[in-house]
Symmetry: C2
Subunit: 165 residues, 2 copies
């Protein structure tokens, strides 16, 4: 284990709209912004403007960003998904009844960010949440493989369209 950090959400610690100093959100942002080459994001719900801006910044810096999300939640008010797509970031979503309920990201194929936290302002400010940050390949690899599997499965060219006979 080369790097581990458990961010256990003190709700009150993150009420600042722009994170200053050391709070769970600022630590999460710092890890995210360390990306140099690639960022895979697999999130049930993504509405945090700060995390959305960080992802757009990485995209502008040339980091290869890919996003997988849940179809039912991506169109909700305040979702960042439309903004990310508008910025040119590829987004794929499920076509299933169940939820795409993962909440993880992988930085440069070597750092896994996972836990209970959806990237929403509600969750960051008001909920009890945990985020685990891990650089051990034993943990990162199965999540990366799962991302690639879902990414292919949610490829729009694989969608099945039903039409009336």
């Amino acid at each position: 284990v080369t790097c581990t950090e458990a961010l256990l959400g003190e709700a009150a610690a993150c009420r600042c709209p722009l994170p200053r100093g050391d709070c769970p959100l600022s630590r999460l942002l710092r890890r995210l912004l360390s990306a140099r080459r690639s960022l895979e994001i697999c999130l049930f719900a993504f509405s945090s403007p700060q995390l959305g801006r960080a992802v757009q910044l990485l995209h502008r810096r040339g980091v290869r960003v890919r996003v997988v999300t849940d179809a039912q939640y991506m169109a909700l008010n305040g979702s960042q998904i439309g903004l990310l797509r508008h910025a040119g970031i590829p987004v794929r979503h499920d076509q299933e009844d169940g939820f795409m309920h993962h909440k993880f990201a992988i930085v440069d194929k070597k750092m896994l960010i996972t836990g209970s936290l959806n990237w929403t302002t509600q969750a960051i400010q008001n909920n009890r949440e945990n985020v685990l940050i891990v650089e051990d390949a034993e943990y990162v690899k199965p999540f990366l493989a799962e991302f690639e599997r879902i990414w292919e499965e949610y490829n729009p060219t694989n969608y099945t369209f039903f039409s009336k006979k």
Copy 2:
């Protein structure tokens, strides 16, 4: 790292009402049922009858079980929380506007079970989910400390009651 397993939810693998053979739910049950002394559970939503029965069985075997959950979800239809309380298992819940959104358990103070999975039939059967099982103290300790902190904070004797003047 003495023991690690990433259970990445193949929804279809767990549609059996009683898990047979090797599926993510049967592997989760096996880890849970390995408890000999203590089991801390910190779950946003708990409605899976199989997991509920496993927890009750551990309680009957003399394992010290403690449950923390979310107040808004514990009274929902199908919740296991009432059954656990009825069986004599101590349960504490938040009194907050935000959600107690953790989804983790700790077996014998040395095995952490965490991830995106709420212990619900919906999540087990229909969602994309992940469960990380870790025995590395570096990961287990902060979660155990968080459980103890929340357990004390949610002690009913600490509740504040507001009354009209």
